[in-house]
Amino acid sequence: MLGFAGTDYEKVRPDFRKVTDPYSGNEIFVVPAVVPDVSVIHAIRADSFGNVVCSARESDRMAALAAKKTIVTVEEIVPEDRFVARPGEIFLSALHIDFVVVAPRGAHPGACVHTYGIDRVHVEKYLAASKTAEGFRAYLAETVLGKTEERYRATECGIPGTAPPSEV
């Protein structure tokens, strides 16, 4: 990694090591790779083989590729002719994925590229509630716990009568 010389990372991160680049002879910092035990990302669509199209804007795909086990939730499973990646989206092969779970509105209250935006009202409610442990417990009890996904989508996303999710 370039750029750590002269910063206080040198003092507080003994795992960032200064080595000599064997090719240029320059000193450079190396950092250990992050290897998550499990990565969970939410993607936009999957095909029937478990390949997915996910957001290209964040590091979702990198997280999926780095993990020992990768779980991808998707908005929907689409027929082959609709399985395309548009700008802002990118393919992720089923090779790298251990489980695909159909979960419409699975990013809620966050956004899903080209599908829905951030639910600002809900996020503000969450931020206010999560300032204290009691507030967060009350938030969970009110919005999440004891609800089916269908019920959550109806009460929190305003989508009545969504079909129950199927599994792949």
């Binding site: 750029g3 750590f4 957001s55 795909r61 700008p87 990118i90």
Partner: protein
């Protein structure tokens, strides 16, 4: 805030000042949490930098395929000419703190962290710093934690670093020889004494020209870019439109 402006909001004024840092035919990137730099870049793109390439995270016009990794790789290959950073603290030597206020082990405030800023500060040819406030809490003699270093002596090479700092009171220029800021211009209505009082290190020289204000044409261009700004920063764009509406006619 002593900044005195007519017919233009402080946000638009600062964006206009940032636009002057954007050059034609270059690669300019705008990261997260940077609505004013984005508005400035959109103004530049619509005026003097129409041949530039712009990497705007979240934009449909320059879609990326690998998120911020693509930005980081572009900078590390030496292909990024201009980027924008801010900090919870910025010190006399141009160091930035995005890590913690207080000591690292027992911080008073734990900040979100540097993300790629250490590398971007180092590998982007020109980095323009911006702040939405100007006070001795932000402009300090020395950062509590150096997340991104202004200068790195005795290191093989770095490609670039800080060049300007645009705050709500003034514009500073980075002197790479002694590694310190110099006062470049004072915004309209801001005296040297006021700027110095809000800065935790000595400002010099003791006088500076007034920062140019945008013309009515420039203000119109800035406002015409707000819908594009809203794609990346909807909340900021909405509040800016409210401020514009509340300007005295």
């Amino acid at each position: 805030m002593p900044l005195r402006l007519q017919d233009v909001t402080a946000e638009e004024f600062l964006a206009f000042r940032i636009s002057a840092e954007v050059r034609d035919f270059e690669r300019t990137a705008v990261g997260t949490l940077s609505p004013i730099p984005l508005l400035g870049v959109l103004h530049a793109q619509a005026t003097h930098a129409s041949n530039g390439k712009f990497l705007i995270l979240g934009s449909e016009e320059t879609p990326v395929t690998e998120g911020s990794k693509e930005l980081f790789d572009l900078a590390q290959r030496g292909k990024l000419d201009l980027f924008f950073l801010s900090g919870a603290q910025i010190d006399r030597k141009g160091n930035i703190n995005l890590t913690c206020i207080g000591t690292y082990d027992a911080p008073k405030v734990r900040l979100p962290g540097g993300a790629g800023s250490a590398m971007l500060y180092y590998m982007t040819r020109r980095v323009v710093l911006f702040t939405l406030a100007h006070s001795p809490r932000i402009f300090v003699e020395k950062c509590d934690f150096i997340t991104s270093a202004g200068q790195t002596p005795q290191y093989p090479w770095r490609r670039g670093g800080p060049t300007r700092l645009v705050s709500p009171l003034c514009t500073l220029e980075y002197d790479t020889e002694d590694g310190e800021w110099r006062l470049l211009s004072l915004h309209p209505g801001v005296s040297f004494a006021e700027a110095q009082k809000e800065t935790g290190f000595p400002l010099s020289p003791g006088e500076a020209p007034v920062t140019p204000s945008p013309s009515p044409e420039d203000v119109a261009i800035l406002r015409s870019r707000i819908p594009t700004l809203a794609n990346s920063y909807p909340v900021f764009a909405q509040s800016l439109e409210e401020k514009i509406r509340s300007l005295a006619p």
